[in-house]
C-alpha cells in the first residue's frame, strides 16, 4: 500500500528556554540544537554571542550584545581618508623649508598618528557595548579609551524601556537609542545609536516579563 502521509519528526530543541525571551525563541530553533549565535550589522547586534565579560556569574548567559550602528563610524573613516591624502599636498609646500630627512620624519610621524587615530576609533567601536544577559543589563562606556564607565541594573529594577528613532539617516538604516529607566536612585541606562532598537527593547521587555512571572 502506498504511503499517503509521512510525518516528519520535529527537531528536538535542547536550548533551555527558561530565560530565552519570546522574541528570540523563533531564532534559536532554526536548524540548530544549541543556542545559535547571530551577528548582524558588523557585530553591532549580536544574539547569543560567545562574548564573556568581567564579573559574569556562573549561570549568567549573554543574550544580546549591542554596539553603535556601523554607519555611525563613517565620519571618522572619511576624516581618516582625508588625513591620509594630506601629506601628498603638504610635502610640496614644505620641501623648500625642510631637508629631505626632516620631511621624511614629519610624514612618518603624521602617518603614525593617523594609525593611532584609526586604532583608537576601532577600540572605541568594539568596547563601547551594551550587554543584556538573563540576569541584568550592563552598559560599558569608554571615553577616549582611558576613562571607563560601567552602569548595570537587574531586570527587576527596570521601570520603563523607551526607544527613540528619528531623522532621515536613522530611519533609513534603522538605528536609534534605547533609554532604560530604573527604580529609585539607580542610574538610568542608555544605549545610543544601536541597530534595531525596537527589537532590542522587545527582548528586554520579554526578559522583564519572564522575571516577573517567575516571582
Amino acid at each position: 500500500m502506498p504511503t499517503v502521509f509521512e510525518a516528519h519528526s520535529t527537531p528536538k530543541v535542547k536550548v533551555s528556554e527558561k530565560h530565552t525571551p519570546i522574541s528570540l525563541q523563533k531564532d534559536t530553533r532554526t536548524n540548530s540544537e544549541s543556542k545559535m549565535s547571530i551577528h548582524r550589522y558588523m557585530h553591532a547586534f549580536c544574539v547569543y554571542p560567545k562574548t564573556t565579560f568581567e564579573g559574569q556569574n556562573k549561570n549568567e548567559t549573554v543574550i544580546l550584545l549591542l554596539r553603535a550602528h556601523p554607519i555611525t563610524q563613517i565620519p571618522w573613516i572619511i576624516s581618516a581618508v582625508a588625513l591620509f591624502i594630506v601629506p601628498t599636498f603638504i610635502s610640496f609646500l614644505l620641501k623648500d623649508f625642510f631637508q629631505v630627512r626632516q620631511l621624511i620624519f614629519l610624514i612618518g610621524f603624521w602617518y603614525a598618528f593617523l594609525y593611532s587615530y584609526i586604532l583608537i576609533n576601532i577600540l572605541n567601536y568594539l568596547f563601547n557595548v551594551g550587554i543584556i544577559t538573563n540576569e541584568r543589563i550592563i552598559d560599558v562606556d569608554y571615553f577616549n579609551i582611558l576613562y571607563k564607565e560601567v552602569n548595570m541594573t537587574v531586570h527587576s529594577q527596570i521601570q520603563d524601556v523607551t526607544t527613540k528613532t528619528g531623522g532621515f539617516i536613522r530611519s533609513m538604516f534603522r538605528f536609534g537609542n534605547i533609554f532604560i529607566q530604573t527604580a529609585g536612585a539607580e542610574i538610568n541606562i542608555e544605549f545610543l545609536d544601536i541597530p534595531q532598537p525596537t527589537k532590542a527593547a522587545r527582548i528586554i521587555h520579554d526578559l522583564m516579563q519572564a522575571i516577573s512571572n517567575k516571582k
Binding site: 565579560f53 630627512r101 603614525a112 577600540l123 560599558v140
Partner: protein
C-alpha cells in the same frame, strides 16, 4: 654679529630635539594604549584572535622606529 650666526644649523638642532621629544611621547602613548587594550580585553572578552594586541604592538614598533630615526638620522 647676526651674520655670523648659523640659523639653518640652529633650526636643525631644534627640529632634532623636537623630533626626539615627540618620539618619546609617542612611545609612551603607544605603551599606554597597549596596556589599555589588555585591560579592555579583560573587561569584555571578544573573539578578535589577538588582532587588537597585534595592532597595539605594531604601533609600539612604529614608535620605536621613529625614535631610532630621530636619534640617528634626523
Amino acid at each position: 654679529m647676526l651674520q655670523d650666526f648659523n640659523f639653518p644649523a640652529l633650526s636643525a638642532i631644534i627640529i632634532k630635539i623636537g623630533g626626539i621629544g615627540a618620539s618619546i611621547f609617542y612611545i609612551l602613548f603607544s605603551i599606554v594604549i597597549l596596556k589599555q587594550i589588555q585591560t579592555m580585553k579583560k573587561v569584555i572578552q571578544i573573539m578578535d584572535r589577538n588582532v587588537l594586541l597585534t595592532l597595539g604592538t605594531v604601533q609600539l614598533f612604529v614608535a620605536s622606529i621613529l625614535l631610532a630615526y630621530s636619534l640617528l638620522i634626523l
